[in-house]
Amino acid sequence: MESVTALETLRQALPDLTIELVPSVDQPAIVVPAEAIELVARQLREHPQLQYQVLAELTAADFWPREPRFEIVYHFVSLGPAALGDGAPPAARLRVKARVAGDQVRMPTICRVYRNANWYEREVYDMFGVVFEGHPDLHRLLMPDDWEGHPGRKDYPVQIHKAVDVAQPLQVTEEDFVRNIERQRRISGADPRVQ
């Protein structure tokens, strides 16, 4: 009942969009086009009858080899009148999904609407290689920066043997060392501290 009204409100606010209600056992779930996610997120957060003020969770699931392969899953929560004050809609949850194809793993960011999407999107990029366009600081979060591949993907090998990267100490000969110091001096001019 409640999910129907939330869906209707959203459809009225965004009449040009195809919003599909999908079956779900726990909370209402909708599928929206990937390119419209920021629009939908803004409506969900700011529409007075919805007020999904918090992004509870953002993740992805890989259904390889099915296409479209990735599902980006957003869980929004409206905290209800006890938390937001009288007049707020009752506490509710909503799952929003966007489907992304394996050859075009791109998705608009929702960082500008929900600030905490920042790290979630970095994690999804790290694990699944989904590029969030417009993200202010998109780089790996959990894996090391020089890691190859995206371990969350289903076609990523489970047992992988990687050679250990060992940092080599810097090898400098005496001549290089002296030359380097003299070069520094030339660049910085006459520094009185250097005799």
């Binding site: 079956p23 779900s24 056992v25 726990d26 909370q27 779930a29 003020q53 918090v54 992004l55 509870a56 969770e57 993740t59 699931a61 890989d62 259904f63 899953v73 869980h75 929560v77 905290l79 209800g80 006890a82 938390a83 506490a91 949850r93 799952r95 929900y114 600030r115 905490n116 920042n118 790290w119 790996r140 979060l141 959990l142 894996m143 090391p144 371990p151 969350g152 489970v158």
Partner: protein
């Protein structure tokens, strides 16, 4: 001395700093003692639990998820088993629900005790750690009695519990609950009005209501900023609606407010645990009556052929879960701790994702410490109650 240049200094704190509760690394830019900018780096404890879980059968995932937030193992397990039970469409018997409530609350107490002990110790009250770990030891003993394991009991299972409660469980929990309220008074006596504690924590690391919503912090941190949201009240699960308890609130949003909220939660959890214990009957069901999921009792396995077949089916192939997905939130010790579970109808999960409260708290850390002093960083990290296993998984 023509002109004095001032410049900011960049300090690397962690990942091996004892007050970062594990392997959190903070790159802090300092202007004197004041923090200009802070960048948390996580991932040093990333063990790929969610990926590993995709190779396991549904029931085998329980010990894995328990190792995520290693201070609140049973809360992780509770979130996971409830999500899978939602997909399976089964409801566990009332007695199991009461036992789960009791274990969840004992786990909350246990986790809060580690928080209080380490938080106190880092701010200078070293005695707190000794006192809190003394009571936590009793809870770990209860876990040991329950399952033979102290930190990761794996006692909660999909479809119920591993086995019935052991002999002496009621007595052990009663003894703890009788002893504990006076101990909370003891902790409060050492901190609540202590002037050093007040000076170190009041007005430090403030988060406003809007910050809480922006950063998606749900849990004790949100309640310390005056947001009355508790999953047990807003989206009730198990038998929580029938329990008499308060949701502690504070308005200031600083480190001290988070302290008062969590200490009040210790009292409320004790209250819930006492009510739950009174409701748990000594004997009764400890799992759903569904031979697909719960293995048959051992005496039947040795005497009946159907039970033997069922036993082998469950332990060799597991059970299948209908295709679909579910997200079930619970109120963990650190806040809303949900599990998102995806199934494609086979005996192994497609995807498991926990909603880690620590992850979000760390994302908000720069907001809490920027503009403050470097000494306050320790107090703020302590008040956020971070567990790196939870955030890195």
């Amino acid at each position: 001395m023509a002109d004095i240049r001032t410049e900011t200094m960049t300090v690397n704190m962690g990942p091996q700093h004892p007050a970062t509760h594990g392997v959190l690394r903070l790159v802090i830019e300092l202007d004197g003692e004041e923090i200009v900018q802070a960048t948390p780096t996580i991932g040093y404890l990333h063990t790929g639990i969610e990926k590993t879980a995709e190779q396991k059968k549904w029931q085998q995932v329980v010990p894995l998820v328990e190792r995520m937030d290693y201070l609140a193992a049973q809360s992780n397990a509770l979130g996971y088993v409830m999500a899978v039970e939602k997909l399976l469409g089964i409801e566990v018997p009332p007695r199991v629900q009461e036992i789960r409530v009791l274990l969840a609350e004992l786990q909350r107490i246990s986790s809060h005790l580690v928080w209080l002990g380490t938080h106190g110790m880092e701010v200078g009250a070293i005695t707190m750690m000794m006192y809190c770990f003394r009571e936590r030891e009793l809870l770990l003993n209860i876990n040991e009695l329950l399952a033979g394991f102290r930190l990761f009991p794996s006692y909660l299972r999909i479809g119920g519990l591993r086995e019935d409660l052991p002999v002496g469980f009621h007595e052990a929990v009663t003894a703890f609950l009788d002893r504990f309220p006076s101990k909370i008074d003891e902790y409060e006596g050492m901190l609540t009005k202590n002037s050093i504690w007040n000076k170190r924590t009041r007005g430090v690391g403030v988060l406003t209501r809007q910050d809480i919503l922006d950063y998606g912090l749900l849990g004790p941190i949100a309640r310390a900023s005056g947001i009355n949201y508790d999953v047990r009240r807003a989206f009730p699960y198990l038998t929580y609606p029938s329990y008499d308890f308060e949701v502690p609130l504070a308005q200031d949003g600083d480190v001290y407010a988070r302290y008062t909220v969590r200490v009040a939660e210790l009292r409320e959890s004790t209250k819930i645990a006492r009510q739950a214990l009174a409701r748990i009957t000594p004997t009764g069901a400890w799992g759903v009556d569904d031979p697909r999921i719960v293995p048959p009792p051992k005496d039947k396995v040795y005497t009946e052929m159907e039970a033997l077949i069922q036993h082998f089916l469950i332990y060799s192939q597991g059970f299948t879960v209908p295709a679909g997905d579910a997200y079930v939130p619970i109120e963990g010790p650190r806040g809303e701790h949900g599990f998102y579970v995806v199934s494609d109808g086979t005996n192994r999960p497609v995807r498991i994702k926990s909603r880690p409260p620590t992850f979000l708290a760390l994302q908000a850390l720069p907001k809490m410490i920027t503009g403050g002093l470097i000494a306050d960083v320790i107090a703020v990290i302590g008040s956020a109650d971070v567990v790196m296993g939870d955030s890195d998984r």
